[in-house]
Amino acid sequence: MPSTEYLFVFAQSHEEFRVPELLSISELYGFTIGFNRYANVLEKAVKRPFMILTLDNEEHAKILAQRCIMIKSVHEFYAEGASYDALHEHNCRARPQWERYIPDTSFKFYVLGYNFTISQRCQHEIIESFAYMDFLGKIDMKDPEVTLTVFEEYESDRAPHGELHKYGEFKQVYFGRLIVDGTARALIGTFNVKKRQYFGNTSMEAEISLLMANQTLASPGKLIYDPFIGTGSMAYTTAYFGALVYGSDIDGRQMHKTPGIIRAAAQYGVASRIMDLCTFDVTNHPWRCGSLFDAIITDPPYGVRAGAKRLGRKKLREDRDRFQYASPRPNEPYIPPTKPYELSQLVTDLVHLARYLLRPGGRLVFFLPTVSDEYAPLDVHAMLCDGMELVANSLQDFGSWGRRLITIKKTSLVEYPPPSFDSVRDAEESGDMYVPAHKDFREKYFQGFKKESES
């Protein structure tokens, strides 16, 4: 087990994405993170912007800070407390960790409040209270050898009685030495959708595209596939981390004429990592064999702004000749008919397709929209099948609905046959069908998520 404690400071958004991201990147680089402190309270702890985790060495902290989008900074952890007295007492015991900086190390001291702005005067007093550390080196605000930081954590923007916080009403105070600032967060600006050469109204925002890419364990030489590539949001971030990316979409319009995806990829310097873009319906796909990809990453269209389609017709009308439209007129591009693709069926099919197309150990990463009041964990477990295991399930909450970033790993070494894409219909016919809350998500969305009894 790793032994040294580090203080992690996180960006205050997408709380449920932090721990899965840390675990993914540590797995990618082959080291472990100790969560010993949170053995039974991890669910509560992830809501807070500070975590104290153990690592084998500083290099691991640096790797995480370079790659994890949610990390603001990582510090060598010295002390914490519910009061300054407790903090100082703890810090005195941590003396062996910092005494080597006493004789001749230039330093800088920072005081930061989380959910609270600490006045200059108070900051000064706090810094003075650390005088017993007796650092003899010079204070250097520009380029110090060590940076020491105090973080005061206030519960929320407002005190419990609704008024503004008063100074000192913090929940916990932390103290440590800065090891590294999170550099991956700057990528959110790099991949800003508004500055992209090519995007659409369903393009995924930059921060989430980066978080998704990290869940795939994207790295140089990996082969990754997006079966609903759309405007390519996740292709750019996965390719940026070195992976080679295939994309397909039933709608070829988005890809034709100096494909926009290639233009946008060129903007990020990753055009040569877009392997190929193909037009086809994933339920009638031309992949010659399985076990091809290290990851499948996708944001399936779930029908609010763009509905999912698959080849076929809604219902065959018996009063019409079924081959009436079947062959194209000469010199006219043939556009085959499509029918809607219901979300829960699409998701079940996607898991089965991933089991066929992924290499052993490969990951499927996708978003599942859910109705907040109706969601049950079984909704996610019911979509799994033999050889596919849930790795992470992180909610992005929009109130009455939300979307969950699902990470599933192919644990089986067995090669599976291609899926039938009729799994749901087969189950429906046999009558033992679990109905997840995301079934008919589109209809529920446009009904404002009212229960039937209310409407």
Binding site: G221, M255, H256, P259, S272, C278, P286, G312
Partner: protein, 123 residues
């Protein structure tokens, strides 16, 4: 920009077309060379998934005869470089890929293969 690696991974998927549906044969192709980063590990990892003879023939069809007819047991750096060039740097920009069994032609336009099937071709 259909690369030869892509060509090697796609088969005709028309309903009922299950024998002799790979490899697809290039027709009236327009070829472009584009440099790509050399990653020998990636090539080595992909090899078990590739059909060697189909690759050699496809490369020949677009004018690259650098690959040996039989897959060598040992992969030296020179061969990996040749494979890299054939698989990753040769792009088909225009033309079609035709199934030798059912004659379905998959058009390639602006580098994008249209693998969509017609209504009577799906299962």
């Amino acid at each position: 920009m259909v690369r030869l690696i892509t060509h090697n991974l796609l088969a005709c998927h028309v309903k009922g077309c299950t024998t002799n549906n790979f490899p697809l044969v290039f027709q009236d192709v327009q070829v472009e060379l584009q440099e790509a980063e050399f990653n020998p590990d990636f090539i080595r990892n992909m090899l078990p998934r590739l059909e060697w003879t189909a690759l050699v023939n496809a490369a020949k069809q677009v004018g690259d005869t650098s690959l040996p007819l039989e897959q060598p047991d040992m992969m030296d750096d020179e061969l990996l470089q040749k494979l890299h060039h054939a698989l990753m740097e040769i792009h088909i920009i225009e033309g079609a890929m035709v199934c030798q069994n059912c004659r379905h032609a998959y058009p390639i336009s602006n580098g994008i293969p249209n693998m969509l099937l017609a209504e009577h071709e799906i299962g």
